[in-house]
Amino acid sequence: MANPDVAQLESIAREGRVQIIRMLTHAGSGHPGGSLSVIDLLTTLFFHRMRYDPKQPRWEDRDRFILSKGHCVPAQYFCMAKAGFFPMDRLITLRKLGSPLQGHPDRVALPGIEAATGSLGQGISVSVGMALGLKLSGKGARVYCVLGDGETQEGQVWESLMSAPKLGAPNHHLDNLCVILDYNGIQLDGFVKKILDLEPLTDKIKAFGWAVLEINGHDIAQVDKALDQAEATKGGPTFIVAHTIKGKGVSFMENDPEWHGKAPKPEEALRAIAEIAGTPAPAWVAPIVAEISAMVKK
């Protein structure tokens, strides 16, 4: 694939971060930390990698994206809106009664979502099944699954890690499957290392038979290069360990377990947005700041 326009993708990711904060502030609940850690990965996937058609969400040859860590779906909703699956103004209906933007992904409610996730550990199994199904049908489409690190404590994840490198052999190896771990090191109750350490993770997953790559998940050029490598890898699936920072881009959220599952108050949102947007802020920031400022005054 052609080299990405990194500056452009970074600009989309910056917009994504602001929209994540905006959505969660309106919703009054949700998961900022992991949404902010995963947004650079999703931006690269949605705007430089995956083949899909927002006007035909069920197009048979589309690449599949499954957010196994479904609680970070605000990041995906932003990407989908930006890509044209639905209007951007719908983002602030997140978690509201009647909205297809459910608190966790809902395939039936929102075309473009490939599987309901959020009950952790399941999305990777569904991704393995999709990769197998596409191979059996002779389709060239790829399957991208984003996994959480806390999620990786689930037994079902390890069932999939065991099965994927061997499933489909000898004629349908799942080299169309790429699992990306958003390794931000924090889960709801605290630090992953303290609660149930995954290490030595790379060794474990290699031992299971995966091609494993390790990258900085906020470096879009690195992310893209790894996705290139994954696509070039034949004979089995690829697992990308993307080291990330929980709450990335908002200094008071970064690396703090408190911000796993807590929405910012409007005042906090304004501080976060100012930080993300930088100076001078892009033109699209002003209306969002005005909107959230109005919430402060209430």
């Binding site: 490939e114 599987a115 309901a116 009950s119 399941q122 199994s125 569904v126 099944g129 059996l136 099965s163």
Partner: protein
């Protein structure tokens, strides 16, 4: 027609359907020899996947296959399959992935293996999900047709199959209709609604009761969900007495479904026959006698119910 386990009829039906329909794939969790998908796996090795003893993963993989246009039959013992309820709940039901869930070895009838291998709560669990129909055929001919129906059913569906042989209760002209209960024997004193393994026993109980002058109507409820309210209400309004019979926990199965429906629509005296305890090891006939699921037990319960 000879007696045959519904799991065996399922395996044979799958083999036949698989020849015509390349979308059909099977998934197992190291029990393909027991769920009887082994015949399919031998004939179509590229379409049969043994995921190992990893049922949650198997169910998730089945969902992925279903969402990419295949018709996956995900099979295991009912207790192990539905035991992974959370994966069924989200990856299959809420996702609306048209997975064909097949739970075999249901009820105390599996016998000697004892409680841990008995599917006794599967119907209760799956009834709570809005979009998974539950079908439990009563004999070979019904099983074959139910499997064919499952392939065509647009969404997810659950088939509940027995380890033990089932005596035929239908003749060769029988046509299974999804969502319809079928009246196997007419009567005006009591309606016996039975499903799965004990259906033949219910018929036998009705024959015995007839000798005493009690005319029992026996209805085979193959589709437990959605319940055929029309057929059940028509019978219950005539007999005024309803007895349900199932090799499943008395909580949450056919008996509960019927009680809920009658309670709302037409309160009718009801006796539920089912399993009220954990299961245990033993011979199938002895277990059916102990739990009142054999003809003697069903007839006795009906007699007592009518004389109360």
């Amino acid at each position: 027609m000879a007696a045959k386990a519904s799991r065996a009829a399922f395996g044979e039906a799958l083999l036949e359907l698989g020849a015509k329909d390349e979308r059909i794939v099977t998934l197992d969790a190291d029990l393909a020899k027991s769920t009887m998908t082994m015949g399919f796996a031998k004939k179509y090795p590229e379409r049969a996947f043994d995921l190992g003893i990893a049922e949650s993963g198997m169910i998730g993989v089945a969902a992925g296959l279903a969402l990419t246009g295949h018709v996956p039959f995900a099979c295991s013992f009912a207790c192990f399959l539905v035991g992974r309820f959370e994966t069924i709940r989200v990856s299959v039901a809420y996702t609306d992935a048209p997975v064909k869930l097949v739970g075999t070895h249901v009820g105390v009838a599996i016998g000697e293996d004892g409680y841990t291998q008995m599917g006794l709560e599967d119907v209760a669990c799956l009834r709570s999900l809005p979009n998974i129909p539950i079908v439990q055929p009563a004999d070979e001919i019904e099983t074959r047709q139910a499997v064919a129906y499952a392939v065509e059913h647009a969404g997810p569906i659950y088939l509940r199959l027995t380890r033990q042989n089932l005596e035929p209760v239908h003749d060769a002209a029988y046509r299974f209709q999804f969502g319809k209960a079928d009246v196997l024997r007419s009567g005006h004193d009591v309606s016996i609604l039975a499903t799965g393994g004990p259906v033949w026993n219910a018929l036998e109980a009705a024959r015995r009761l007839a000798d005493e002058g009690i005319q029992a109507e026996v209805i085979n409820v193959a589709t437990i969900k959605p319940l055929d309210e029309e057929t059940i209400l028509r019978s219950a309004s005539r007999t005024g007495h309803v007895v349900t019979v199932e090799d499943h926990s008395i909580h949450g199965g056919l008996g509960s479904a019927v009680a809920e429906m009658l309670g709302e629509v037409m309160p009718t005296p009801l006796k539920r026959i089912g399993v009220t305890t954990f299961g245990e090891s033993g011979d199938y006939k002895g277990l059916y006698a102990k739990h009142g699921l054999d003809a003697v037990g069903i007839a006795g319960a009906v007699r007592k119910f009518l004389n109360r």
